[in-house]
């Protein structure tokens, strides 16, 4: 009896994973291929040669870059029409295009991202990930590509007016995010860790927590989608996002940094950010 139930749950999960991963790469594949053909012939062969090298070194086979992310984090990454889209997804796509490689995006829990990169299951993770010292010990970060901040969401009319008011309050966070880590420094705080930012926000609307500490851009989306919530003007912390790679994979790191620099210089990166953030 029990086995059946578990089998059904597993089957549903598999189906969800298959649709999530099956849909996204297809469109990306065509895009990446398209970009390659527009490039000069010599450049394409060079990229191809490099690709095989990178492929031998990392888990990527046949010029494919595997990216992992937690696609519950709008507008950086979220599901839309069976694709994973968002700022990180688009930037990763642009980087892969520059490198002449295909991009495959996989969705998983945020706290599994770095282990996935470390164990070589994925080549890199772009997940609105803030650079911090603990993480630097375990992965290499590219140059930063976005500014971010941890902000505090409260219910309108809440007695919490500034970060200092969080002492002794119930605080909802997403497990493993910088919001979670920094919330640990709050005095006497009762921290409730959810797997998804959305669930923490839902707990806030239902009065199960007093405040949610989360990244600013997703916070804006959450507040927009739920009436009666607001973001405090004073941010909890300021920080910067970067892509994380397996430690010691310098070749890929240098290539990605070069691609990021190109994207920054050409203004493409800003365009991607504007597409998601000003449009919202």
């Amino acid at each position: 009896m029990k086995k059946n139930k578990i089998a059904i749950a597993v089957a549903l999960c598999m189906a969800a994973v298959l649709t999530a991963c099956g849909g996204a790469p297809k469109t990306e594949t065509t895009k990446a291929a398209g970009a390659e053909t527009t490039k000069a012939g010599t450049e394409t062969t060079a990229a191809g040669a490099e690709t095989t090298k990178a492929g031998a070194e990392s888990s990527a086979a046949g010029g494919k870059l595997v990216m992992v992310t937690n696609a519950e984090f709008p507008p950086y990454e979220y599901h839309e029409n069976n694709d994973i889209v968002g700022i990180d997804a688009d930037i990763a796509k642009a980087i892969a295009d520059k490198m002449g490689m295909e991009l495959e995006i996989q969705d998983m829990a945020f706290d599994s991202l770095i282990p996935a990169v470390q164990s070589g299951k994925a080549d890199f993770t772009a997940a609105g990930m803030t650079v911090n010292e603990d993480r630097k010990k375990n992965v290499d970060f590219t140059d930063t590509y976005a500014q971010a901040a941890q902000v505090i969401i409260v219910k309108e009319g809440s007695e919490i007016k500034a970060p200092a008011d969080l002492d002794g309050k119930k605080i909802g966070v997403q497990t493993g995010t910088t919001g979670d880590i920094y919330a640990g420094d709050i005095k006497d705080a009762n921290i409730q860790r959810f797997n998804k930012g959305m669930e923490a926000v839902m707990a806030l609307t239902q009065g199960k927590v007093d405040a949610v500490v989360i990244d600013r851009e997703p916070a804006k989306v959450f507040v927009k989608e739920n009436t009666g919530l607001k973001i405090l003007d004073e941010a909890f912390t300021e920080e910067e996002y970067a892509i994380a790679l397996k430690k010691g994979n310098t070749e890929l790191l240098n290539k990605m940094n070069a691609a990021i620099k190109e994207l920054k210089d050409s203004g493409e990166l800003q365009k991607i950010v504007d597409k998601y953030i000003t449009a919202k």
Binding site: I8, F110, D134, R135, N138, V139, G172, R193, M202
Partner: protein, 230 residues
């Protein structure tokens, strides 16, 4: 090699008192499992009695129908979905605490499986036993309680124990409602140290030890119950 393991151990459990995530989580896991088992046994027993009574006597038609609906819904949906419905939908306007929510959700879930286990136990007793009880002047309830149930219980002990082992391990999805159980405790450490090995193995070993201890207890109980056969 050993040095690496020692460093890993130090980083994952000693720094910042991270072992507390595991012990706090373990407490919650045990609490949830213990109370869910109690609810499960109570509910399961009631449902099994209602269903068997209907099968034998065709009384309690409405109650039997309600039990049927309960079994269908609970066994037809994953426990993690039930847990989230309990937390985000049923208790959406009132917060009774996550542990309480989890106890209720897992208890109700377990009750459905325990009900079928008890019912199979009751039907495993031959009809002659029942008729013998009635012919000795016992009424229906007395026959059930003094003659059928003790024998049925003995028959279902292994399956029942299995159900509780499954329940203990199933509570590992409690993290979905922001509850810090044993698995979530390991996940939190993993999210701090970015190493998967130590926290996951530690969590697995703790579950394993708990299940092994429980199995020993059940074996002792089975031996004790067998004594009455001689």
């Amino acid at each position: 090699m050993w040095e690496k393991l020692r460093d890993d151990f130090y980083q994952n459990f000693i720094v910042d008192d991270r072992w507390k995530y595991i012990t706090d989580g373990l407490q919650n896991t045990l609490k949830i499992t213990f109370f869910a088992v109690l609810i499960g046994i109570l509910l399961g027993f009631l449902v099994a009695v209602i269903r068997s009574t209907y099968e034998n006597t065709h009384k309690l038609k409405v109650l039997n129908w309600i039990c049927g609906v309960y079994l269908t819904i609970i066994r037809g949906t994953p426990v993690v979905v039930q847990l989230m419905i309990m937390y985000f939908v049923i208790f959406s306007f009132h917060d009774p605490g996550q542990v309480f929510t989890a106890v209720v959700a897992f208890g109700i879930n377990s009750g459905a499986y325990v009900a079928e286990i008890f019912r199979s136990g009751i039907s495993s007793i031959e009809k002659g036993q029942f008729e013998a009880g009635r012919s000795l002047g016992f009424n229906y309830a007395q026959t059930m309680w003094f003659i059928i149930m003790p024998q049925a219980f003995k028959n279902v002990v292994p399956t029942l124990a299995n159900e509780f082992i499954v329940l203990l391990k199933e509570t590992s999805v409690a993290g979905y409602i922001g509850l810090q159980d044993l698995t979530k405790g390991g996940d939190i450490i993993k999210s701090r140290t970015y190493s998967a090995f130590m926290p996951l193995i530690a969590v697995a070993v703790i579950y394993l030890v708990m299940v092994m201890m429980f199995s020993q207890l059940v074996r002792a109980l089975e031996r004790r119950l067998q004594r009455s056969e001689h």
